[in-house]
Symmetry: C2
Subunit: 275 residues, 2 copies
């Protein structure tokens, strides 16, 4: 309402109403149309895509087992290469296996398994369906990469300190759990430490199970790779520095992550020495 | 072992072993490499894809609301058409709305809403990401259609009676829940009626909640569209006829679905009259 007096003289109540609606719309736009909400949509879409990708990959792997139960292929690229051989013919040759496996002797061993497989014959219509499904899974993978690119850009833009200390996905996920940058910026470090562990926290409060030590932050390599007994300590350390970094991201708009990271590294060494 | 004596004279134990392994492999192939298992993989992939599709669609709809909270688009085709307008320019024109909506006056009303939107401005990198995501969702839709085609072919081939009485997805889903055609063919009709309602059934047995009336069969339009009080009866009727049809599908290999359908229709009429 601060511009209310200066801007114009209202002749009647209708003008006032119009003006008030306009101002409210602008306020809504200011508060609910920020880039952070796009980042939240993007990290959610990314999570859903990546869950689906895993489902699809497990499915195609199980399916593949009907035809060649003796062979196990570990990546979607290997599966793709394998089925590429089928696109123009019905039987694979040794060259197809050289294409799939870098190791020549491994390729030959698997070719032998392929020749003596007790699996099902690959029928024409099933072949088509599988190759189509594999292409789709590949497309899912590319879509994921496009999202990763966006997450990287935008997390670094909106939360440079937090992204530097963690990574673009963890930063976006923290924002997602908090709901907005403003809410995130005023959270105490203990809340940040447990963001994403709400279920375990309430189980602890209600039924007295062990309290959680970390939520989203568990994805930090520093925690994942640490010994069990110091993981909680490391999570607390990171949460403390992230909460300082967030103030730099959102309130003072300063990049202070390098100093924070140095401080984390020093304390990490101490923790590892003493435990 | 029936061919054991006639086929050859074994000189030593090694030959016998080789022969036994070969026969076993053949038996495995006979029992576990049937087309029905491909159908099971396909219906599972279809279900996972269709769940993912719904997730993606909900996501893009919510996301869209950031930019145009006043406009609601109900299908992925509308969303696609809407964003097509953005591919070469930054603002939509009235013609773009004529393209999306068949109804001219509706298009104009929504164009007005578009002009006065209180949503976020569509930035270049977000536009790219959204258009890419929409293409991916479209691709998911096409993949689903390819799977539907396969399900139709194969359900009709393996379970012509059951598919005629229900549809290709319900037939494949029944097979999926049962695990194999053989198991399905010897199931009593009461089991078929409850296939897919295992959770509710065990809840009933353990905690005394209401017993379920149908599982997979709920997707039958005859049941979905019926009044609540006769749904259980209709499910029992269908299950009885399906179990007869399955014997025709799997054991006697006869197409008897037309007679069964007639009998269902007659009894349906009676049920509707009396309730």
């Amino acid at each position: 309402m601060r511009n209310f007096k200066n801007t114009r003289n209202f002749k009647n109540i209708k003008d006032i109403r119009k003006f008030a609606i306009k101002k409210t719309k602008e306020a809504i736009k200011r508060n609910y149309a920020n880039e952070e909400f796009v980042l939240i949509q993007a990290i959610n879409a990314y999570n859903e895509l990546s869950k689906s990708y895993n489902l699809f990959f497990e499915r195609i792997n199980e399916w593949f087992g009907l035809y060649f139960p003796e062979i196990s292929l570990t990546s979607i690229n290997q599966l793709n290469e394998f089925f590429k051989g089928f696109e123009n013919k019905n039987k694979l040759e040794i060259n197809d296996f050289y294409r799939v496996f870098d190791d020549k002797s491994k390729a030959e061993a698997i070719y032998q398994k392929y020749l003596n497989t007790s699996g099902r014959n690959l029928e024409e219509n099933e072949k088509k369906l599988i190759i189509m499904f594999l292409k789709y899974i590949k497309n899912t993978d590319e879509t994921l990469k496009n999202f990763e690119e966006y997450l990287k850009q935008t997390s670094n833009k909106l939360m440079p300190n937090t992204t530097y200390l963690t990574d673009e996905k963890i930063a976006a996920e923290l924002l997602n759990k908090a709901g907005s940058l403003e809410k995130l910026s005023i959270m105490p470090s203990s809340t940040i430490q447990l963001l994403g562990a709400e279920k375990a926290l309430f189980k602890h409060i209600k039924f007295g199970s062990k309290p959680p030590k970390y939520g989203v932050l568990f994805k930090l390599p520093a925690i994942t790779n640490a010994k069990r007994n110091i993981r909680g300590k490391i999570a607390r350390l990171y949460a403390a520095k992230i909460s300082i970094g967030l103030k730099g991201d959102i309130i003072s708009k300063r990049f202070i992550a390098k100093e924070l990271k140095d401080s984390i590294d020093k304390t990490l060494e101490k923790i590892k020495k003493n435990n």
